[in-house]
Amino acid sequence: MKMNSDNFDKTLTKILKYTKPFSIRLAPDDMLSVPPEERQSDVTLRPPSTYWKDVFRRFSRNKVAIVSLIVIILIALFAFVGPYFSPYNYAQQIRGSERLSPCFAHPFGTDALGRDMLVRVMIGTRLSLTIGVFCAAIVLLVGSIYGAISGYYGGMTDNIMMRIADVIYSLPTVLVIIILQISLDQPLRELFPNSRLGTSVISIFIAFALVYWVDMARMVRSQVLLLKQNEYVTAAKAMGASDTRIISRHLIPNSIATITVSALFQVPTAIFLEAFLSFLGLGPSAPMASLGSLASSALSGIQSYPYQLFFPALFICLLVLAFNQFGDGLRDAIDPRMKN
């Protein structure tokens, strides 16, 4: 559209009439200091919140989760520090005090060989906790690497890797673990002749590394698929970052919260599984004990010595319950949308 000059002049005079270009109008009032009421608006009401501060705030509001965390810490202290305060050793057989009921000297009683149950439950809890945490770490490691590679490269790589994961997913895991444990027993015994843990624990780790990572890998993959669309990934690529660097520096740190939560749920799973295997007689070799093997050896005397089952069973349940509730709480704190 062409504006004729007459019209243009009219508009210009109109503008000049209402504004004063190239001048700043100052009133004496402007030189006064800001009154206190007005200053209020500049005060930061609370320090700017970071992502982790938000998570912590939401988490600390959740009473059940806090209690669970305290229970976990207490049980961990009981298991890792407790044995040092006990006058007995977990393998020590006290002649003449076999199958004692809970009493002052032995608060949890003694077993058929005269071993103090309190210190055995401590050692058992320690082993079960260790297994739980290690298995979660293994799943975290294998699953996130596999998932990240699959999601990042996409295409044919992704397709093949996910089909492999499908096959592993459909394997009956407990059966595979039993088979692994039976057959790895002898070779592992030769590899680690001095292992106090016994071969069963090592084969549980191997089994977790082989079959339990699929869920984790799928989750990490979907996270990576989302994240790799982000601008900062493009920017990193443009600056010549290698794939390894992008995966390890950008993609995994950004999905770490979600990944950690689902790894946390592996802890009770592993504790459960270990108890189950111990019950089938595939547990740690004596005199080492896990909560599962303690419970299982108490079964034969259930009629006369029910307390021998009671304490290990109580600790299994407490641990599993606490980890489940803690995981739920953490998940809700990290991603409130995931709540129900």
């Binding site: 394997l171 009956p172 039976i182 057959s183 108890a275 189950f276 599993v320 129900n340």
Partner: protein
């Protein structure tokens, strides 16, 4: 659909193949054959090894085993002389299946209504109690539940039989012990999907039309919230099956689970392999059926 089916079938066959191969080679990794533990003269051991084909090269044994499997022959039990693995499975599996079947029924029949009630009475005392029991229920291993039941009802109160399956009453404890944790899981699953379904617009429409509460819940909400429960049926069977290993031992039920554990402890390799393959096959086929069922129940699902 065709693409989904073919992908699913291929993946199932691959999984079966992986199970067989893994089982076979792992079992053969174990140093010392099954005849090393007994006090046998080398000559007798050689005769036995020849009889069971253990002196053949490994690859030949493997292909022979695959061939036998294709014919449906799982081999002979080494420890239970005179029995084939097929016979043992045929004899013992029905026992396990009956206990497991009852447990699955308990879990589904009680779990869904409990979940619906909890969702309807959301945040009331009833909901809290149900959820509390369920949270506890999934945190207790089945062998502890079984032992506690045995101790309380079998020994202290002595109102239920503790051993074997001689009467209808003797099914109660094993089935309850097996079903507790799946029951709790189903309740939680139903509750959360029911609450989600109740938020949907079609529920508001149904309510606005003036339908009775029962129709709204039963016909509109429940149908949609049952879908996650169906997907759980696969893992449920697996849980009942492996739970059976433990529960059958505690209650001395002569089922396949108990026998499987026994064959683990006396290293009856053909029996372990046979049972593993049988269980794996059962689970894979069941999972496949569940996937199909899922599609039938919810026609919106496209693959």
């Amino acid at each position: 659909m065709v693409r989904f089916l073919s992908r699913r079938i291929v993946s199932m066959i691959l999984a079966i193949f992986v199970v067989i191969t893994l089982t076979f080679f792992l079992m053969n990794l174990v140093p010392g054959g099954p005849f090393n533990t007994e006090k046998l003269s080398p000559k007798a051991a050689a005769i036995l090894e020849n009889k069971y084909g253990l002196n053949q090269p490994l690859l030949k044994q493997y292909t022979d085993y695959l061939g036998d499997l294709l014919r449906g022959d799982l081999g002979v039990s080494i420890k239970k002389v005179g029995y084939t693995v097929n016979e043992l499975i045929a004899e013992k599996f029905p026992v396990s299946a009956s206990v497991g079947g009852i447990a699955i029924c308990i879990a589904v029949i009680l779990g869904i209504p409990a979940g619906v009630i909890a969702a309807m009475k959301r945040n009331t005392v009833i909901d809290r109690i149900i959820m509390f029991i369920c949270t506890l229920g999934v945190s207790v291993p089945s062998f502890i539940v079984a032992t506690l039941l045995l101790y309380v009802f079998g020994i202290k109160l002595a109102i239920l039989p503790t051993m074997r399956l001689n009467s209808a009453a003797s099914y109660i404890m094993p089935a309850v012990a097996l079903s507790l944790s799946p029951l709790c899981y189903i309740t939680r699953l139903t509750r959360s999907s029911m609450m989600e379904a109740m938020e949907q617009d079609y529920i508001k429409t149904a309510q606005a039309k003036g339908l009775s509460r029962l129709t709204v819940i039963g016909k509109h909400a429940l149908r949609n919230s049952v879908i996650p429960v169906i997907t759980y049926l696969g893992p449920l069977t697996a849980a009942i099956l492996t739970g059976g290993f433990v529960v059958e031992n505690i209650f001395s039920i002569p089922g396949l689970g108990k026998y499987f554990v026994e064959s683990i402890s006396n290293r009856d390799y053909p029996m372990i392999m046979g049972t593993t393959i049988f269980f794996a096959l059962l689970l894979l086929v069941l999972n496949f059926i569940v996937d199909l069922l899922y599609k039938v129940v919810d026609p919106r699902i496209k693959y």
